[in-house]
Every structure is written in C-alpha cells, then in structure tokens.
C-alpha cells in the first residue's frame, strides 16, 4: 500500500510540475529562481546520520547557488508533492521507481530533469574528505546538475562526467561547469553596496613588511572576496558582514574609503549618517582610535560639509581628496584642510564626463572602486560599470578628457560569478 501510495503521489507530482513549468527538453525549465528541496523521511541512508546527510545536501545545493542565479532552500514543512527537488536513498526496487538499483558497485544514483534524485544505499557513501568510499557530496552535486538540466559531459575536470572520480581534496565547480549552468540560467547580477580593495600589511618570514590587498564586493549584509587571478569569488562566499567585518553594521555599508598618504593611513566605512574607522591590524572597527575619537561618529562631524547618507566614495591619491557621491553631485573633501574643496559640490557629469554621449551613470552610483589589479578607477551602477580614463589611457590617446568615462560594460563581463545564496544558507 505504501508503494502504491508513493506511485500515485509521484504521478500527480510529475504531472503538476510539468504543467506549471511548461518544460521542454534541453531548455532551462525551472521558471523560478528559488527552489525547495527535501530529503524524504522514507529515504534516509543507513550509513550516515540524518544530520550529516542534510548537511551534505545543503552544501551541494549551495555550491550550485554560488555559480548560478538559482537559490535553494530546504523545506521541511510543505506537502511532499509541492517540493521541487526530493532526494532519497534506496536499494534495489525503491520508491516505486521504474529504474532498479543494481547493488554495491557500478550505478550509484540517478536523477531526472526537474525531478527527484535517488541514491543507491548499497554504495558506500561517505562524508567529504573522508578519503575512502564514494563522496556523497560529489555525487549529490552531479545529480543536482542533472535536475537543473545538465547532461553528462565527457571532459576531464567536469563534475558532470558520468563515471565517478575518487574524491580529490576540496573539489569545486570549474570555469566550464559554471558556464554550462549559466548557459541555461544566465549569469549572476544585482547591485552592490560598495566595492573596495582592502590593504593590509604583513611581515614575511624574513621580517620584511609587505603590503597585500584583497578585493571585496559587498551587497547589503553580505560580502564576497573576489580572487582576481582566478576570475571568481572565493569558494564558499558570500559571508555575512557581521562574521567577517567585526564592529560594522550587520546590514552592510554605503561606502569604503582608504585615506593613504605619507602621513595618514586610515580606513573608513560609511553607513547612513555615521561612519566607522577600521582597525586593519586587529581586523575590527575601532570603538576608540589612538586620537581618542569614538566610533561610530557622525559624518557631519568627521567630514564637515559632506551630506548623508552618501551613495559611495573614494580617496584620490592624486589630489588627496575624498570624493563623496550623492545623487547627481560630487562633494570633494580636502583631507589635509579637513573641509570641502572650493567649488564643491559639482555635478558628476561635469567631473567625470562621458566619452560616448549619453553613456553615463548620471546619478545614484552604487560604488566608486579603485582597483589595484587594474590600476584604474571604476564607477558601478546597476549591472553596468564605467572605467575612468587614467594616465595609461590618456597616454595612448591624448585627446581623452581628464577623468572621462570610457564606454560602459556589464559588471558580469569584468567580475565573474558573484552569485547570491539563500539567506538561510549564509554562515
């Protein structure tokens, strides 16, 4: 009776899902971006604890979330037949499935496009980095790939290879696997709160002080570390701001400024009407700095004449001014004089003229980001960015106006795979 009941549920579920998505073979058919999943109660593995199994599946779904615009949430409450992706372990004849498992060895799992995933519990599934058995994480990532619409791919390094490769430490989705899923669902977009390179000083084994930087993208209460050399974010990101940036507001920031000159080395974060100074050595916001200033502090006190809230800001080492952006105006703050520069504010379009008429953010910037990787200033708004013509561009083309904006491009074309995950999946 149980089997007949399951068969009836599956028949209804499959029919309902096909009608609601209008799926057709070979096309990305999940019309929604947030998908639910559940490890069904009748389908627990006998080899790992239920918590371990759920943890591994959460991680597997998150790995796909980190490289695609899809988000996944574990749903323990809804009726089973409305769950988008159901997972379960079985042996031999299982769940009324027409495809029998073959016992230990050979086939380890199967899955259907937009459908369920079945794992053969006669296989020796193990937790990640165990070294023996079959990595449940690797198999789960592979089968989820099928559910999302990927076929088998005969390419060394692809997670979609049909045969199992013994687990190497910390496997991840490589560039081509990412592009494969993005071919079906598109790339990742969204506005950023701020973007910056965070400078830190380190001492080498020889006692030398070296200066390093890391690139960060922030969106509301989460952030990504972007690895420029690898053209991707750090594996496992995004992370909550409150986890990585102690003392800053958990909802995120509006701007980051690093005033770096011969006399000054100060990092500031701005949010609303307030700002914080960041202690880069101890990796937390100051509550009180060496000058006795307490934080958070009002922007109007620390930067007289600068309105709040601001859209974004950056420090220009060429003229030792902080450029604060708000609406369509730019407020230039002289750090040495501790006051607004003369003829401030000015229109953004005037200070940063468009090279191509009409191709300009005009107002409400998301981020002004000086990149040490590219040695260039970028202005970001929405899905687009503009590179500010610097010395290098003006050397090759002397007619370029000072601080003019080169033609816009998509953020996704420069910084890849900055993908969000479901709030429940954030650390």
């Amino acid at each position: 009776e149980k089997q007949r009941h399951l068969q009836t549920l599956m028949r209804k579920s499959i029919g309902r899902r096909k009608r609601s998505t209008g799926a057709s073979w070979g096309h990305a058919a999940f019309a929604k971006s947030v998908l639910t999943w559940r490890l069904i109660g009748e389908g627990y593995s006998s080899q790992l604890s239920v918590d371990e199994q759920r943890y591994i599946f959460r991680l597997a779904f998150r790995m796909w979330s980190e490289v695609s615009p899809l988000q996944f949430v574990e749903d323990l409450r809804s009726p089973p037949d409305v769950i988008d992706i159901r997972l379960g372990f079985g042996t031999g004849r299982h769940f009324g499935c027409s495809q029998r498992f073959d016992g230990a060895g050979r086939e380890f799992a199967h899955a259907w496009f937009l459908g369920d995933i079945h794992f053969d519990d006669d296989e020796h599934f193990t937790a990640p980095n165990t070294g023996s058995g079959i990595s449940l994480l690797k198999v789960a990532v592979h089968e989820i790939g099928h559910v999302l619409g990927l076929p088998h791919i005969y390419r060394s390094g692809s997670i979609m290879q049909p045969s199992y490769r013994p687990q190497d430490d910390g496997f991840e989705l490589d560039w081509l696997d990412r592009k494969a899923i993005q071919n079906l669902y598109g790339g990742c977009g969204g506005r950023f709160s701020t973007v910056f390179d965070w400078i830190r000083k380190e001492r080498t084994a020889y006692g030398e002080v070296v200066v390093r930087f890391n690139t960060y993208f922030m969106r509301d209460g989460r952030y990504w570390l972007y690895e420029n050399r690898s053209n991707r974010t750090r594996y496992g990101d995004p992370v909550s701001v409150q986890v990585g940036w102690h003392g800053l507001p958990s909802s995120g920031v509006d701007a980051y400024v690093h005033v770096w000159s011969r006399d000054t080395d100060a990092v500031y974060f701005f949010k609303g009407a307030q700002y914080w100074r960041y202690d880069s050595e101890n990796d937390q916001a100051f509550t009180e700095d060496a000058d006795g200033q307490r934080y958070p502090r009002l922007i109007s006190e620390g930067f007289p004449g600068v309105p709040s809230p601001i859209d974004t800001a950056y420090y220009d080492r060429r003229d030792a001014h902080i450029y604060f952006f708000r609406g369509s105006m730019v407020y230039m703050f002289d750090v040495k004089a501790n006051k607004l520069a003369a003829k401030s504010p000015r229109k953004m379009t005037e200070l940063f003229p468009a090279l191509t008429p009409g191709d300009h953010p005009t107002s409400n910037l998301d981020a002004a980001y000086f990149s040490y990787t590219h040695n260039a200033l970028f202005l970001l708004k929405g899905a687009s960015y503009w590179r500010v013509a610097g010395r290098r561009e003006r050397k090759t083309k002397r007619s370029l106006p000072y601080n003019s904006l080169l033609p816009s491009r998509e953020v996704q074309q420069q910084w890849f795979d900055i993908c969000d995950v479901h709030a429940g999946a954030l650390k």
Binding site: G26, S46, S98, E123
Partner: protein, 174 residues
Amino acid sequence: EKPFHSRDHSDLEMSSSHLAELITDTGTAQHFLFKYGFMKPVNWESTQSPDADTLPDADIFSEDTVSLVQEGTSSSRSGDTDHPRESPDFVRALLEFQRLSGLPVTGVFDDATKVAMNKPRCGVPDKEEDQIETSTAAVNRNESSELFNTTATPQSNDTDVDVVQNGTSDKAET
C-alpha cells in the same frame, strides 16, 4: 544491518547478494551500451513515471548476444570461435564509448574497456532522445568553443565549431 566492526564503519561488508553484476563479456557490455544510450538514445524522461517500463534486463541481452554468436560461428567455419563477430551496432556503440572515455579506440571489448564500464557511475544515460539535439550538443558545443578558441563567445555558431572539430557539415557532438 550490514556487518561492520570498526567504530568508523570503514570495514562495512557487502553481502554478495547486494553486489552489482559486473560487466564481464560482450553480452553484459552490450547491455551497458544499450542502457546508457550508446546503441540508441534513451528516452530517460519517460522513465520517471512509476508506470514506465524498466530498461531491459541483462538476461535479454545475453540471449541476443548468444544468437549473434551462433550466427557468427555458423557463417565463418574457419573463423576464430573465441572471438565471435559482433554486430555493427555493437561495434559502433563500443567505439563511441571508447572515444568518449578516452580509451584506445579499438572496437574490441578489451580489458581497458571492461574496467571503464565497471567503474562507479551515474545511472542517467549518456545519450538521451531529444536532449541529443539540444542541451547535450549545446553544452558540448559551447565547451568546444572554449577549448578551441578562447576568444569565442558562448554563442559561437555551429559551423565554426564543426570546421574546427572535424571539417564536416554534420552537427558537432563532443
């Protein structure tokens, strides 16, 4: 319970009745090739329904292979009875499997092929009906673009890839 004695279950024993049948001869190899779509693309989507037919059992293919073997030996008296002539479909499928798997493309069910067929693998067929012309080809075409021409956009057209791959006008298939 499957027997074990170690705290971490690393010595978990499998009873022989739970062991998957290995690919050992051309009969079981043919079943493998049929099951995963090398003989003929599989309509995998239709198997999701509990009412769907299962893919044919190995027993059926053993019978087919026996009949092929009998044909082979009766038609070539001086032929090598230890290596009966395989059907063209089987050979074609075997060649395709060997090529995709990076094995020496011999067309013979050799040891390397046997090992590859017995590796743990996913139960989803490698070649499916309809998906052949759409996502499989699209994904593999895009990957071919990346591999052969790093400046190509993901939307490289088929003609370019065909020329690079095999110079024919057939649709590209990695």
